[in-house]
Amino acid sequence: MSRDLTQVDPQWAWSVYEPDSQYPWSRRSAAHLFRRAGYGASWAQLDEAVRVGPAATIDGLLAAGQAARGFQQEMDRFAKTTLATGNAKKLSSWWLYRALYAPDQLHDKLTLFWHGHFATSAAKVQDAHVMYEQHTMLRQLALGEFIKLAQAISRDPAMLIYLDSATNRKRHPNENYARELMELFCLGTGNYTEQDIREIARCFTGWEVRRRRFTFNKYQHDKDEKHFLGQRGRFDGEDAVDIVVDHPAAANFIAGKLVRFFAFDDVEIPAPLLKPLADDFRKHDLNVRHVVDRILRSRLLHSEYSFGRKIRSPVELSLGLLRGLEGSANTIQLVEELELLGQAMFFPPSVKGWDGGRAWINSSTLLGRANLVGRIVRDEQTKFAGGPLSELAKKYGATTAGEVVDWLAELLIAVPIADDVRQQLIGTARRANDNPNRQIAEVIHMIGTLPEFQLC
């Protein structure tokens, strides 16, 4: 079947997915949903999703944020303890730990999305506390109205430090934040001029950071009239954010980025396909929950246009494996490994965030990704549902080499594997049949080397 998005009927694409013979609701399709709306799911969770159906499963994903309050409170206390060292890498370990065990998977995944969108790196900020404050803000507003998120990030101390806005004086306006607000955060290129950047930079003059807090220095604020994006007035930073977010391109830009995050990457979305979603997004005051709800329930997400059309990020790869196998992890070590593969939480490479897609893969990272998979499943410290791999496989009825391979393929691989690949995996399992744990670990390690496994 053709995967040409220009051929897709927008009405079909955004209508609510109902399982049918072409796209049935199965463990494989449930696994697809959990990989996109979270970091993956266990065999038991997939069975439960199949039992309750797609609508109830998506309801559960969207509602989990409220249900996870107790977990969040515990994680907040855990984070504060971690912050005592003042080490942002420890905070990165904490986030991996949270993401691995989070009952609110969608919420956490969206927090990661916004972290990549409003990219801020602790490498420059050099203050784990303000990075955590930003993280908390992103999490709290992840599924709210986009304008609140844009306003909050504009006053966020970590962002102000990262984009040098903290030294934005009226005599020397710093244009960094004004440029990124439009180019990377709200509108995309081609929707503003250099003059707009200069004028918006004036709006943000006097927005400073003192003792880790946002402060407004009225003496350094340019109170004169500004003229940008077709508006004229004595605007301040808050007005500037309102005007930028109100721009018609904003809904398109954010909705498009969310579609690429959930459905497919490295693909240009045809304007007619995106338009109904963007219009609906605008109609609902750029409410992120609403647009995410529509994307998750869409036929487009539950179709060939989305299955296996993303490349797993290192975080998705490692957490997906661990969540699928109900594994525990040394997240301090994992942070170091993910950094080598190009994705360290709280340390995005630039203000553009992570490029994602095919950029995750090169000859070095491909080997590194397979090695990471091998290391995780062979690590004696890793426990799978509190025990060894063989017990987990037995729990789910996989005992023979063929059963183990089929179980792992359905659980961990986004697309069906060819028969010769399956036979190779069975051969691997048989060669290591003297030790059930080693046998499964060998198969998983080999799965980690497959091109199919790199797909999400």
Partner: protein, 596 residues
Amino acid sequence: MQTLTSSAKCLLLGCTAFFLSVAPTTSKGRADEIAAADLLPDSTILYAEIPRPKQLITTIFDHQITKDIQATNEYKTATSTEEYQQFRAGITLFESVLGLKWRPAIESLSAGGLYFAFDPETEAAALLMKSNDAELLENFRDTVIKFARMDAAGKARPDPVRQSEYRGVRVFRAGQARFATVDEWLILVNKDNLGKRIVDTYLDLQESKADGNSLANSTQYQTARSSAGRDQTAWGYVNLEVIRNAGVARTLFSGRTENAAVEILVGGVMETLKNSPYATATLTAKPHQFGFAVSLPHKAEWVTETREYFFGENGRGGSPPLLKPKDTLLTLSTYRDLAAMWAGADDLYDENAAAEIAKADSNLSTLFGGRDFGNEILGAAGPELQFVLARQSYEDTNIPKPAIKLPAGALVVSLVDPEMTRQFKVAFQSAIGLVNFGQAQNGSPQFELNSEKRGSGEIVSAVYLVDKGVQKDGEGLIQYNVSPTIAFVKDKLILSSAASLASELLDLATTDAAVTQDAAVNTQILADLQAIGTILKDNQKHLVAQNMLEKGHGKEAAEREIGSFLKILDYVNDVSIRLTTETENLQLNFEVNIKQ
């Protein structure tokens, strides 16, 4: 009386009768009088023995700590794995075939001791075990062989054990290992030559034909052996002379190091290693004490001029008493003439390290107003050094209690030249100024300098200026553990990471009698595990968080694991290390005292 097979009894009786009648002076004729050292060649360079393994087994397996470890969830989890259960099943099967539980079996099989040796001439290692029941030993040997053959058969592999005979003794070979039992002795070697030599010696001794070239007859071994006590759990001997001459571990015996910390800690020991003919080691395990000691012959004249800084002139340098302020975690006292070490750096270190020291000398001289750091600054301090780490109370400060509570550390030295007091004070103020400059650039809190007279002493401390609105009882920054302080009292200079510790040490120095030094003790270290347990409990929630991140545990599992660790730690009172230079002997003692 040991149980012997009838043939062994006959042999023994025969041999005894023969030696009693023919050669009454040859004491090695009786099989039960033959020691492992009698069987080993005089070229043996490494020898270790556990004369009474039963005692060690009892101490370890019947100890309350072992019982408590076995009661922990972590132990239960570790022993519930499939692999461990398989191992247990193997042991049970082995016990049923042997007809004895593993513990009485091992106690009986090794009742006469366990011995290990390495002989460079044959390039072979030997493990000897003496039983009190030759029949049980043969049974054990046969059971091991049976299991090896069963395992191979199960895997469709050829018979792994080959059998031959040497001078009437059945010898078995499996892979690289050769083993045999002769009366109560089990002989396990990795090369034929050494195995033959041991069997020959054993048989020849009984026939009074032994050539006498045994380890036991070596003069050096006898000298080393004479200093060994009687109640040790294990004892070992190394012929350093042969190892040195063979060119093994050249770096160790070269007497030079690249690492300044290693030099300061053990530089003098390396001087002894360069010359000492042998070393012995003793292990003592008792229910309430675990001790390990290494001993080397030592002569003051072996110490070259460059290493006089370590032992003092003619080896007379001794450490001052250990400092013990409240809640001491670790206290160290040593004799090190740092000015002399600094001056001789070119001879002690390699080129890179010496260049680094020269660079540091230049920078530190600048900090001390142009005075020569080695000669004038280090030279102003005496060689008796005291260092202490103690838990902090945080009660007397206006800064918030830090979330992570670190111990305070302090160094105490005697000033040879009291005139240098002002120079140290100025350098301290300059250093704090430099730190404040950096802190201001980073927007981090800065230090405020305070000076106070305390009795006959003086304290200059730098305390963090706390941000307005920060709660004293809040969870403060980790930096709040630090309040750098310099203090002076009598001839003492105290350099401390915390003002409270400096005050306490100043008070101790004021009230203490004059410092006495024990010339025999070069270095002593005492770690109080009870106090260390207390500071770990202060930081328990951080240890729990670390455990969660490192092991992926949930909070409860992490709390359980840390709790178990702290409980085990609670059994240990203290750990001490002492380096002493008694007459012609250098000794390093390590001791762990268990709570009664």
